[in-house]
């Protein structure tokens, strides 16, 4: 393809576009504070997100960040504070997709809601933060991106000011978040203390200098894991998640549980692969840090799925299930100690991508239900299929996909993850436990996911409902997500290649 020479900083374009969108929205808001012109606002957001998506896809296609391409190899910006590689682009794409879906859905969800502009600008700011997380290559930038994501998220969760649920969710999210970030920062300080640098490669380079401060470094790393665990809603930093997802407006729950989680993981992938290469780190701190992730993965997926199994509130069930999925993805980090670590991580990335569609879709369906005002429990959903077959078919697709039933995307990613875990287990038998946990948990998950399908399709409605509206935006978002979830399996070839290569660049 034709080689176009762009200034290097433009490699950050996907994130910058989002930031610009945020500013545009602010501008609009300052000009017309009380505008409730939902079309313009969500339209702008969608355009911004799609633009960011387009650019990211273009870069990825053009080979930016791909190893072994001379002009566009991995791009370092501000002497390595930021790095744009395939990994970064992959997750920028995920974030952009989710943002777009959420924005489209919000158009209807937010009708007759006062703070339109704030909502969208906060949304885009958070998205910007996530995009930045994908490219951050220094603990400083990581932390800033982290906070840039968190602070708007707190506000977004609590944005329904007169809704006790929303506020309570916001509070819990915020408090746990603050605590976690404090722990994270302290971890950063310890790592800095041990290695004397915050730029990831530099940390890796100075590991041996840590010397007698191995214990401190270990503690620091553990605290970093804590910060990541918070973002990805993994045990033991997951406590905010059920409430936050349940209380927040459904689109925001979708946004946090998909995009925010993905961002948290890209952070983990980058930090732990770049800054703490296994052999060197193990030499200093005396323990292979993947053990932490093995434990976390098993505990997280088990806790998430078990807690989800008997929920009565659909949104809460999805919240717990999203914890469970975080557990699945954590295997991607747990397996790094093996030679097939890049494959497992690639599979984990694919799972996050597919998850971006199916989980977002699922939460958006809940949003649709809230829009209809049918109620929040399984019983309230009974027999919706007779009135809204299309949306319910989409929801069935999401559920089966989340449960890992073919021919849907979730099946592909989960089983890739599963088989690679087994492959990795040939070197680290502890991963067999993870694989076993995966089997047990997805069986259990099948139970509660199909419970929702049962409610929608099999049960009879408890009480008569009047006809349900068909909001264009929500429907569009849900159907789009469903279609992609349904057909993505066929396109797994290229996706798998990209993901695996991206993983290989950081792991290798």
């Amino acid at each position: 393809m034709a080689v176009i020479d762009l200034p290097q900083w433009l490699a950050l374009a996907p994130a910058l576009i989002l930031a610009a969108t945020a500013l545009v929205l602010f501008l609009f808001d300052s000009i017309n504070p009380h505008s409730t012109n939902r079309t313009v606002l969500s339209g702008t957001t969608v355009i911004g997100a799609l633009a960011s998506l387009a650019v990211a896809v273009w870069y990825a296609a053009a080979g930016v960040g791909a190893t072994g391409i001379e002009n566009y190899g991995v791009i370092d910006i501000m002497d390595g504070q930021f790095v744009v590689d395939q990994l970064a682009l992959f997750f920028m794409i995920v974030v952009a997709i989710v943002t777009a879906l959420v924005a489209v859905a919000s158009h209807d969800y937010l009708q007759d809601h006062t703070y339109q502009a704030e909502y969208y600008s906060l949304l885009v700011l958070a998205a910007t933060g996530m995009s930045m997380m994908a490219v951050s290559n220094s603990l400083v930038t990581v932390f800033i991106a982290l906070e840039l994501t968190s602070l708007p998220s707190y506000a977004l969760v609590a944005i329904l000011k007169d809704n006790r649920g929303s506020v309570e969710a916001g509070l819990k999210y915020f408090l746990i978040g603050a605590l976690s970030s404090a722990i994270f920062v302290y971890g950063v300080s310890l790592v800095y203390g041990a290695t004397g640098s915050l730029q990831l490669e530099a940390i890796a380079a100075n590991l041996d200098a840590a010397g007698e401060m191995g214990g401190l470094l270990g503690l620091g790393i553990l605290m970093l894991i804590g910060g990541v665990a918070f973002k990805t809603a993994s045990v033991p930093f997951h406590f905010w998640a059920p409430e936050a997802y349940e209380g927040a407006p459904a689109p925001i729950s979708a946004f946090l549980s998909s995009a925010s989680k993905a961002a948290g993981f890209v952070l983990a992938f980058r930090v732990f692969t770049t800054a703490f290469p296994l052999e060197a780190t193990t030499a200093v701190i005396g323990v292979d840090w993947t053990w932490a992730f093995v434990i976390l993965a098993i505990v997280t997926m088990t806790l998430g799925n078990f807690a989800a199994a008997t929920q009565e509130n659909v949104k809460r069930m999805l919240a717990y299930s999203s914890i469970g999925h975080a557990g699945y993805v954590l295997i991607g980090l747990a397996a790094l100690s093996t030679s097939s670590g890049d494959l497992v991580m690639g599979a984990a990335m694919i799972h996050l991508l597919v998850y971006g569609f199916m989980n977002t879709g699922a939460f958006l369906f809940v949003g649709l239900a809230e829009y209809w005002g049918v109620g929040r429990t399984f019983e309230d959903y009974n027999g919706l299929a007779t009135q809204a077959p299309v949306a319910c078919a989409a929801m069935a697709v999401f559920m089966f996909s989340l449960a890992g039933i073919p021919p849907f995307g979730g099946f592909g990613s989960k089983y890739l993850l599963f088989s690679h875990t087994i492959e990795a287990a040939t070197e680290n038998t502890a991963l067999l436990a993870a694989a076993a946990a995966l089997v047990i948990n997805s069986t259990l998950s099948l139970y509660y996911y199909s419970r929702l399908v049962k409610a929608l399709w099999i049960e009879e409605p408890l009480l008569e409902r009047d006809t349900l509206a068909k909001p264009t935006g929500l429907y569009a978002a849900i159907v789009a997500a469903a279609v992609v979830t349904a057909v993505i399996l066929a396109a797994f070839g290229p996706i798998a290649d990209v993901a695996t290569e991206a993983a290989a660049t950081v792991v290798g």
Partner: protein, 685 residues
């Protein structure tokens, strides 16, 4: 394929095909046909009879026929005797034995079809299309079974006749009793067939062939195996032959209603009397005995098997005869006498009396069919009343029925010169001859001999109660008339019952030294024959493998002795019946039997224990299994899900909703992780 066969034999398949076509036609168009499909049946069976006669003639002309019609399937055999491949085929084997049997079957079938016109149509039965279709299907299966040239084919049609028997017994399916009797009949025979099938499979798996005749037959294979002293499935050859032979015998006992599988036959009388005549007297029940005769060469290799056959036969003969003594239902008497008569045939075959057995098979087919049809006629006369105590004095009202029935009775009782005498006598003579050196056989012979007395008794008890004395009911006063369709078959069979015995008058032959034992010559391959399936071949095998015969004095004296003995006993029995029952108003005389009466009346409690086996043992066992399945096995499955859901309920309680607890748990979890890693990393060292 059959066309390859030369001459008349090319038409052999037609014997079976005619009734099959009749079956199809009746099934499809029976409703619109005149006589509801009787005509296709009559035509078809007539055709079969003609072709069968042609076959017999051809055999008489010194010819025999063995050809493969159609290959069912073929494949690799992992046989013990090293045969690499095996082919399962449908083929035709027409030798003296099968030719004879074909004639018998098609003849009786024809007569029964004709009789049915009087018995079913004239009586205005419904469901005649079904009746004639099933009759056609039966005739087809039976004839195909008869000319089957291998064991598997035999088994297949053996099963099919079982099906037809089931359907025809249950013809009056709207009653409670008929379906249950049908079910019982099928189940009991099925139980026998279970062993039969094992036998078939075992023989196939052992010798890699299931053929009856020729070099490729399993009989030949077995002979060679025994000669080579081979070991088959861990047994020495002869033991294995015995085992497999006895397994096949299971099916025989079931079909021919031999002890302990005899219980179904009396119940089978629930079916129309015509069916009883055709299936449960003349043909299907004969299938078992016929099968033994068919593969006699195989049994001849095993004295154990033979003596078991003989003993079971002798025992059944007596056993059933005693039960027949106390029955009041005319059909019941006949049913038990059938069982008993087949016992004689088994006895005959079991002692190596191949000719005797087949001879009695033939005679019995005629006279028992006759008796059943006669009984049928009586039942018409009596407006479907079957209790002999309500009859009486019919002999003047229906002379034709009476005299033909009498002929049958004399044959059954074995009174010279009626057919039954000659064959039964020969059976007993052979048994005696062998028995003199084989105690087991002697016991069997003794039982057979005693049975002769009972036979004479119950036969004439039946005759006297039915036809003699004063009418004991209004219907007996003026019976329903019977038409030509009833009389013709009776006359035909009556004649046969009277004269059929003349074809093999062994005693006369011995005394007068003239060669008039035609049946023996027939079976001995004096005319057409298939190598290895002849009487003297069997005879030699038996002599070499199993028994040698010995005589009291000379052979002739022994023969006369046995003949006189049996005739005397038969007459004694008949006379006893005469004194007791041939009076104007006979008495039941049950008290004379005392305690024995109840035992006999309830058939030695045979049905009881078999019913108990089915309903008192198997069913509860099944229910127990079901409970086990529902509680234990399914309980584990549901338990697992219950436990996980309970676990879920427990896990989610961690989320108390109070944020400070979260902080505490968070920190606690973090510290736990810290401790684990710290321990692994030795940071606290």
């Amino acid at each position: 394929m059959a066309a390859t066969a030369t001459g008349p034999f090319g038409f052999a398949p037609a014997i079976a095909v005619f009734p099959l076509v009749a079956f199809v036609i009746t099934l499809l168009f029976g409703k619109h046909l005149p006589k509801k499909g009787a005509l296709p049946g009559i035509i078809a069976t007539g055709g079969s009879l003609v072709v069968s006669l042609v076959m017999a003639a051809a055999v008489a002309g010194g010819d025999a026929h063995h050809t493969e019609l159609y290959e069912w399937t073929a494949g690799a055999a992992a046989s013990e005797t090293g045969a690499e491949t095996i082919a399962f085929t449908f083929g035709i084997l027409i030798d003296p034995l099968s030719a004879l049997m074909l004639v018998i079957v098609s003849l009786v079938a024809l007569l029964v079809h004709v009789f049915s016109l009087g018995y079913m149509n004239a009586e205005g039965e419904t469901g005649l299309r079904r009746y004639y279709a099933e009759l056609g299907l039966f005739t087809f299966s039976m004839l195909a079974f008869v000319f089957a040239d291998n064991l598997l084919m035999a088994f297949m049609f053996f099963e099919l006749v079982g099906l037809c028997s089931y359907l025809l017994i249950g013809f009056w399916f709207r009653t409670e009793s008929a379906p249950s009797a049908a079910k019982k009949a099928f189940l009991v025979t099925r139980f026998g067939d279970y062993f039969f099938l094992i036998g078939v499979v075992a023989i196939a798996a052992t010798f890699g062939t299931v053929g009856f005749a020729g070099e490729g037959s399993f009989v030949t294979a077995a002979e060679t195996a025994i000669e080579d002293g081979a070991t088959l499935f861990g047994f020495d050859a002869q033991t294995w032959v015995t085992i497999t032979g006895l397994l096949v015998l299971g099916g025989v006992l079931g079909k021919s209603a031999q002890f302990p599988f005899h219980t179904w036959l009396p119940d089978a009388m629930e079916g129309p009397t015509t069916v009883s005549a055709l299936i449960h007297a003349a043909t299907m029940v004969a299938a078992g005995v016929y099968l033994v005769a068919r593969m006699f060469g195989y049994y001849a290799l095993s004295p154990t098997a033979l003596s078991i056959i003989a003993f079971v036969g002798g025992f059944t003969a007596l056993f059933a005869a005693t039960m027949a003594v106390v029955k009041d239902d005319v059909k019941q008497v006949l049913a038990y006498s059938t069982i008993s008569q087949y016992g004689y045939m088994m006895l005959g075959l079991g002692v190596g009396g191949y000719v005797a057995g087949v001879f009695h098979l033939m005679n019995h087919a005629f006279f028992k069919a006759l008796l059943f049809l006669g009984a049928g006629a009586v039942i018409i006369l009596m407006h479907h009343e079957q209790d002999m105590w309500k009859m009486g004095g019919l002999k003047d009202k229906a002379p034709v029925v009476y005299y033909t029935f009498l002929a049958g009775a004399l044959a059954l009782a074995g009174i010279v010169p009626f057919s039954g005498f000659w064959s039964k006598d020969e059976v007993l003579f052979d048994a005696l001859a062998v028995g003199l050196s084989e105690p087991v056989i002697l016991a069997a012979y003794a039982m057979g001999l005693v049975a002769v007395f009972f036979t004479g008794f119950y036969t004439f008890r039946m005759v006297f109660l039915t036809f003699h004395g004063e009418p004991r009911s209004d219907t007996a006063e003026d019976p329903h008339p019977v038409g030509w369709a009833v009389k013709v078959p009776l006359l035909a069979l009556g004649t046969l019952a009277a004269v059929a015995g003349l074809v093999n008058m062994a005693p006369i032959a011995k005394l007068a030294g003239v060669d008039i034992t035609f049946l023996e010559f027939w079976l001995d391959g004096e005319y057409g024959y298939v190598e290895g399936l002849t009487y003297h071949h069997y005879h030699e095998t038996v002599a070499e493998m199993a028994f040698e015969e010995s005589y009291i004095g000379s052979e002739t004296t022994t023969m006369l002795l046995s003949a006189g003995l049996s005739l005397g006993l038969a007459l004694a029995g008949a006379f006893t019946a005469h004194t007791l029952y041939n009076v104007p108003d006979p008495d039941r005389h049950t008290t004379k039997l005392g305690g024995a009466y109840s035992v006999l009346k309830s058939n030695y409690y045979q049905d009881e224990y078999q019913v108990w086996l089915a309903e008192g043992f198997t069913l509860p066992l099944a229910r127990a299994a079901d409970r086990f399945d529902q509680t234990v096995i399914d309980g584990v499955v549901n338990g697992t899900s219950q436990i996980s859901l309970f676990g879920s309920d427990w896990v989610k309680r961690i989320q108390t909703g109070i944020v400070t607890n979260y902080a505490a748990l968070l920190v606690g979890g973090f510290i736990a992780l810290l401790l684990v890693l710290g321990y692994l990393g030795g940071w606290f060292a």
